[in-house]
Amino acid sequence: MKSRFIKAVEFTIFSLIILVIIQTIVEDIALLLNWEVSIRTVLIVTGFVFDLIFTIEFLVRLYWAIVERRVAKYLFEKRGWIDFLASIPLLMFNSGPALLSLFTGGSLFIIFSDVLNILKVLKAVRIARILRFLRVIKIFKNIKYAESAMAQRHIARITSLTVTSIVLILFVFSTLSGLFLIPGLQADHLRQQEAMVRLVDKAYGTQAMDPRLSTAINELDRSLLKITDENNTVLFARFGDDTLDKYYMREDLSVKANTTGTLRIIFDHKPVQQDIALQNILVFSIIIIIMICYLFIYSPHFAITVTDPLHVMQEGMQSKDYNLEVRIPKKYKNDDVFKLARLYNEHYLPLKDREIFGKAETYSELSIEDIKL
């Protein structure tokens, strides 16, 4: 009964991992394809629910590990570190703040933006999502792609190393580039916005917007969405308010004021987020391709050259009537395993055959345990 319950829990977690990865990719796609705010809101809420469940899962597992005094085993051997990295940091830096921002109408986001540079906040939130890809390792662990435990362990180990290296290196580099605003698309974007604020300030002051200038601004910076004065009179608008409400969340927008505070200039931050989303999709594609290669190219190769010949030799040594030889591929004939297999084929099996010839009449499939008298 208990094992059935555990199996059910494991299956649920496995399903949730698949769903959360799909959700992460869809969230990036939603940003790239400019999906409506309503859909993105649903995705933010589901992302939070997933992270909350995984955080609870991690805390429960950690609690039992503490109770059973096997914390180190859980964290390192049972990959508890993945449970940790792909749950609490995400809840704290990604889905948690995103959900709070939704409920507070973006005011929390504004507070963060005031304390930190807005781009740094954006990056911190989006980069943390990369950690979700670590869960791929746990999916891989659950796929029974090889009969041999040894093959499973080796492939799982190499997959963990590869995926962790990619994710952590990207995480560290992205965090560092976010913190220090290393020259790049995002830094250019920020500089361009600041220049635009100065230009708008100089050109218009408090005057009404000249339609010709409006056209010039429109072409100069596609990220400039709206300019209003202190009376909330719209001086420039790329889209109507309905379009803004439908396709832009609060964190997609950056609100700046001119030096005198008479103008309110709203910029579009989506290009920066889309750039990060594209990076995430690229990383995920790399991870998926690597995993497919491990699963369908390396795993069979490992089986053919290591575990399969070992399994055949083991069967031949354990079972009296098992006399199949190991098939030795020509190109691997000098591998240690196949050198051993040749000895098995050429010496052990003929010897066993002669041995069995003399003793065949003592072998039976029946055992005393089978008979109940």
Partner: protein
Amino acid sequence: MDNEPTIGAQFVLRLLENPALASFSPLQKELHIINFLKVNINQLYPTLSSAGYFPGKTKDQIFSMVYESLKQIINKSLFPHLKKIITENIDFSFISSLTGSNGLKNAMSEQVLGFLQKLLQKSTARLNFLGPLTALDLAISDKYIDESFQRRSYLHFELTKVQKLSLTQEETKNLIKLSLLLKTSVNLLAVGGDVNSQEVRAAAVQNQFADKVLGALESQLDLIPPEALKSALHSNISFLESPDVEATARVAAIFAARCSNFRQFTKIDRGADTPDKSWFNIARRNYKFYGFDSKMLDEFYKTAAENGW
């Protein structure tokens, strides 16, 4: 006292119902049960000598009674099976081509069946019949002879030029089948029914002994020509000691041995070679031990490798 055969039969039936034996042929089941009894008789004896079974009997007596019941039960399925093989799988018309005279096919098959039913009362004959019977069931010789007639290499040369058989491909296959069927007739002169006896095993027979058996055999199977009887008897002779032994006898010896410990692989493990290829390769290395024709084994090995058998 009178119900001992019934108790023996009931005990045997319970053993036969064991799922571990489900995939085996009747004779294989018999062998497994005999081996089981031999190995475990000491542990079974307290129960089997109790009031519900065979009180007051010694181990040997119990063993003999159980074995007798086992034989009777197995014979009920073995003999109809044998009849089917003899009447449906072997076409005796090849004997006309062999001798040049017309024989009565039905009479021949009935004579062979009657002879085997008598011969298989002997324990050693039953034990040694396992390989030939499995080979006949699987028709293993058919596919290899078909291949050899296509290849026209060593085996074909041995059959047609050395043994000088003027038989068609199908007739040759039937001669080999009959050789397999009568291979165990070498046990004709074996005394008694001691199941522990190992007096006649593959390639353990001398030429002189085979000739002695041939004399006795000819009198019992007078409708079968001596060429066929020799082929059957000589399949028990080592090729290394008698290089002039018939090619059909050498083939029968190899296929009977191939099937004596035959294991049906429902699924071949990844990384393993195919069953026939593996067996022939092992046999190539042990050919001196078994007295097989190594060139014939080489040909069968190549055939198995090329066909994925």
